[in-house]
Amino acid sequence: MEITEKIINIPLAPEVLWIMFAGVLSFFLVMTFIFHHHWKYYGIKGNQKVFARALFWVISVFLILLMILAILFFETI
């Protein structure tokens, strides 16, 4: 029996992904500011603050770079 595949083509321009990226980046920057303010002024101490900051930035930057690479790849295909 032949298996038929249904192909669904969703029209999506790279510009839409860039707009989404700009939105999430703005949200990320606002949240980063809020977190850093809270950690600094409301008493997260020494090593915990350094660790929280480092962990937050490393994973976030990795995900942001992954998003940029995915859009660039989508544009160049």
């Binding site: 669904i8 083509n9 999506l12 990226f21 949240m31 409301y42 989508f74 295909i77």
Partner: protein, 180 residues
């Protein structure tokens, strides 16, 4: 920033049980893996999804998934910040009850040691009993107000420690209410 008086020092801090934050982070971890099922589901029902003129699926999927993970990551830090900033600080003069509700609501109450009348603990439910966490109630004399910290680890032990602090510092004349 919390500031203390000259003769004041922190004796210990009380935070919610780790089980509370672990539960929230476990749910987020589960949610993080959920979208990975999408390609398998599409394949099992013989549907091929492509995006735009490039007819690519994976680049858009990676973008959407990273987007989703970043949102979860931020939510995770909101949970952790709430957990970390929601604290009771027991000093030799008072108990500071700092309640962080979300990111934009923060309530700080001060309980002077000499006004504390009664400390009770409450543990309800199977999980709370097994993992050993519950609520700690502190009754104050002045306004007949009750302060509660929810989901503290080993509430009986903490109540005992608070009692020890009260016994040691409550009647110390150098920390009378006039000075505080």
């Amino acid at each position: 920033m919390i500031e203390f008086r000259e003769n004041e020092h922190t004796i210990f801090e009380i935070r919610k049980h780790w089980f509370i934050i672990a539960t929230e982070l476990t749910i987020l971890t589960f949610l993080a893996f959920l979208p990975l099922l999408i390609p398998q589901i599409l394949e099992s029902i013989n549907i091929v999804v492509i995006f735009g003129e490039s007819e690519s699926f994976w680049s858009v999927f990676v973008f959407m998934y990273s987007f989703y993970l970043l949102m979860l990551w931020i939510i995770g830090f909101v949970f952790w910040t709430n957990y970390y900033l929601d604290v009771w600080i027991v000093t030799n003069q008072k108990i500071l009850d700092i309640e962080q509700i979300g990111l934009f609501s923060r309530e700080v109450s001060i309980l002077h040691l000499e006004r504390i009348q009664d400390i009770t603990t409450e543990t309800n439910g199977i999980v709370n009993t097994l993992v050993k966490f519950g609520d700690l109630h502190v009754q104050t004399a002045g306004q007949q107000r009750e302060f509660i910290i929810h989901n503290v680890p080993n509430p009986d032990k903490i109540a005992k420690r608070v009692n020890e602090v009260l016994m040691k510092y409550k009647d110390n004349p150098s920390f009378s209410s006039d000075e505080i």
